[in-house]
């Protein structure tokens, strides 16, 4: 029952988007006044699979905003060489099954030229093989775990790309800055042991700290469902480290920051991607000041492309974008860049599109200049940011 109503909602939503997009195109061609204009070219269908319901619905809705804004701006600027870009957005319900179903639908039924998504890494590992066997290129826009591109657990994955900065790149950069700029020599490493994102981040931190020659005085595991972390923080502070590292999602991170601030204000706390959300600042308040993390994007980046994106997003949705919105928005522009270079974009010549995505270099996005490396992974600047006066401020 719930599923059906969701599906109906989805269809209504898709119709509304399609209608809105149609309206946009008519307006543009009317203004340009060219009679043979864009109407002659068939639409370019791009699939988007994101978590609009389930645990991932913290991220999916802003990703949806990001891609919809990008599609609107792309079509306003003439689409894909004159053809209109149409999004097919499906909910993966934050589950592997949901992701596989959506990928099957989009590759066989909608016949999209490429897919952005899915939101969560677990889902991605299950759904990407569907696109791989259908030879439909995928750009992952929010997966940070290992095994998403390059060497994939399920075998060949030469149609899969990742535009979201992985923790294995961001964390070593963060650790290096901590060592060189913040003079950190010893740390206590805290992590949520029952969460894949957090424990993966923990392993990456361990390795990066060893490489950088920083001493780990103690490792403290906790649970992502812990309702209070005061005891863990007390134990961590007893070791008197130079910094506390917390590999967790935003919820536990807030508990850690508040507790550290209560017991030892000014103590340096370093985190992973879980720290890169405005919720850290609003919920932890003054306790968030000074927290350091490595990010793919930050709101205050003065780069003109980013400023333009932030302003357009705010105008459309009346709220600041987050990293997920920025990555989703950038993902569509990265795809657009490759689509424009691919001779026939609408027929199912997916291998040609894949080749062009591989050639992506220096695309200007809110994330900065963007390229893919040889293993199809993101190649962009890592912004190591520190929270100062309630805003993420770059340290590098």
């Amino acid at each position: 029952m719930e599923k059906r109503s969701k599906r109906i909602l989805g269809i209504v939503g898709a119709l509304a988007i399609a209608l809105a997009a149609c309206g946009g195109t008519t307006g543009t061609s009317g203004a340009s006044g060219s009679p043979q204009g864009s109407a002659a070219k068939p639409d370019v269908k791009v699939g988007v699979v994101i978590s609009l319901t389930g645990v991932g619905n913290v991220y999916g809705p802003t990703q949806k905003n990001g891609v919809e804004l990008a599609a609107q701006r792309i079509n306003d600027a003439g689409g894909v060489n004159g053809a209109k870009m149409v999004l097919v957005i499906d909910d993966d319900q934050s589950t592997t099954d949901g992701g596989v179903t959506a990928f099957r639908k989009q590759t066989s039924q909608d016949r999209v030229v490429a897919i952005l998504g899915p939101t969560l890494s677990n889902t991605a590992v299950a759904a990407h093989p569907v696109a791989q066997s259908a030879q439909t290129p995928v750009i992952a826009i929010s997966n940070t775990g290992d095994g998403i591109v390059g060497k994939c657990t399920y075998g060949k994955c030469d149609y899969i790309f990742r535009a979201s900065l992985g923790e294995s790149t961001a964390i070593p950069a963060t650790v290096n800055i901590a060592k060189t700029k913040l003079n950190v020599k010893s740390v206590v490493l805290m992590y949520a042991q029952d969460d894949k994102f957090s424990s993966d981040g923990f392993a990456i931190f361990q390795k990066a700290l060893a490489t950088a020659g920083i001493t780990v005085k103690k490792e403290i595991a906790f649970s992502k469902t812990d309702v209070d972390l005061s005891a863990q923080v007390t134990a961590a502070l007893a070791e008197s480290p130079d910094a506390i590292i917390d590999s967790s999602l935003a919820g536990p991170a807030i508990l850690v920051l508040k507790e550290v601030n209560r017991r030892k204000p000014g103590m340096l706390v370093i985190g992973g991607n879980g720290f890169n959300t405005p919720a850290i600042i609003t919920s932890a308040g003054a306790a968030a000041e000074g927290a350091v993390s490595g990010a793919a994007w930050y709101l205050g980046n003065p780069d003109p492309i980013n400023k333009e994106f932030v302003a357009a997003y705010k105008a459309k949705y009346n709220v600041d974008p987050d990293q997920f919105a920025a990555q989703a928005y950038s993902g569509l522009y990265i795809l657009l860049d490759a689509l424009k270079r691919t001779p026939t974009v609408t027929s199912v010549l997916h291998d040609k599109l894949r080749d062009q995505i591989e050639l992506t270099t220096g695309v200007k996005t809110p994330l900065g200049e963007f390229s893919f490396n040889a293993s199809h992974d993101v190649n962009q600047k890592v912004y190591v940011v520190q929270i100062k006066n309630g805003a993420f401020t770059p340290l590098n």
Binding site: D228, A231, Q232, R263
Partner: protein
């Protein structure tokens, strides 16, 4: 060390407040009310809403108690009373409560989204002061104090008042209670009001302590409250309180003396040992003597 004991008391108080409401409904009606975590969340968000309208924190706690209490009564009317009238097995009531829980959480998400929220800046006491070597903060101390007061008040109410006597009669034998002229529906409504009100207050206090209420915040407590309830003795109110502190002290002791990865194994292992020694729980008694 003193710091860690203070931490254990704080966490135990929150567990206990949560488990109390859970236990109350179970002891009187034999229903596992799985909507309790949703009412907990509702409490935190009711206070958030009230404080966003400019209400002080203390008043918001009272508003949350009343709103959640009423929500609890409605919950009974909608989800449990119809099943009770048809003599449905307790399992149906449990499923029904899961449904209500999903609806309440979804409604909260519709209004506030799934993200972490924060109470208006400057509305919560933030002072921290050292007493000897111990760092005490106002908010946590108030929370501990309030939790203890509420536990004592509930115990007094159940043991010493007319309503308490009715509840105990109802727990013992609903039919006999009815024959003796007790207004059973009224007593049930009171049970739900108290249970949900306490759950709501627990939600507000926990929301205050973390200042990051979110729509799924109650779920983390569910499993622990179960454990606390069973170890304390199903349906025993002092038992639930005792179980809650036992769990929190167990968790923190293991953190101090063992590798942190083993914490849950140790804490729940401890509870398991308690059950081996006393299968009915620490204060568990025959069903007749419950409450």
């Amino acid at each position: 060390m003193a710091d860690q004991i203070y931490n254990a008391i704080f966490i135990g108080s929150i567990y206990a407040l949560f488990a109390l409401g859970f236990t109350l409904v179970f002891s009187v009606l034999d229903i596992l009310n799985l909507a309790h975590p949703a009412l907990f969340t509702l409490g935190a968000f009711t206070a958030l809403f009230a404080m966003q309208q400019g209400m002080p924190a203390a008043a918001a706690v009272i508003v949350a108690f009343v709103v959640c209490g009423i929500a609890g009564v409605l919950l009974d009317r909608i989800a449990f009373a119809p099943l009770r009238r048809r003599n449905a097995p307790p399992l149906s009531a449990m499923i029904s409560s899961i449904g209500v829980s999903l609806i309440v959480i979804r409604l909260i998400q519709l209004k506030y989204g799934p993200d972490l929220q924060a109470y208006p800046a400057g509305t919560l006491p933030a002072a921290v002061f050292p007493i000897g070597g111990l760092l005490v903060d106002t908010l946590r101390s108030v929370i501990i104090g309030l939790a203890v007061v509420l536990m004592l008040a509930l115990t007094y109410l159940v043991r010493r008042t007319q309503l308490g006597r009715e509840l105990r009669a109802l727990a013992e034998n609903p039919r006999a209670a009815r024959i003796l002229g007790i207004d059973v529906e009224r007593a049930i409504a009171a049970t739900f009001f108290l249970s949900a009100g306490l759950g709501g207050v627990a939600g507000v206090l926990y929301g205050f302590a973390t200042n990051s209420p979110f729509s799924q915040m109650g779920l983390a407590f569910e499993l622990k409250a179960f454990a606390v309830m069973i170890v304390g003795g199903m349906g025993s109110i002092p038992g639930a309180v005792l179980g809650a502190y036992l769990l929190s002290f167990g968790e923190i002791a293991s953190l101090a003396f063992l590798p942190s990865e083993l914490r849950d194994a140790f804490a729940f292992g401890l509870l398991f040992v308690v059950l081996l020694v006393r299968p009915t729980g620490i204060l568990g008694q025959r069903a007749v003597d419950r409450v």
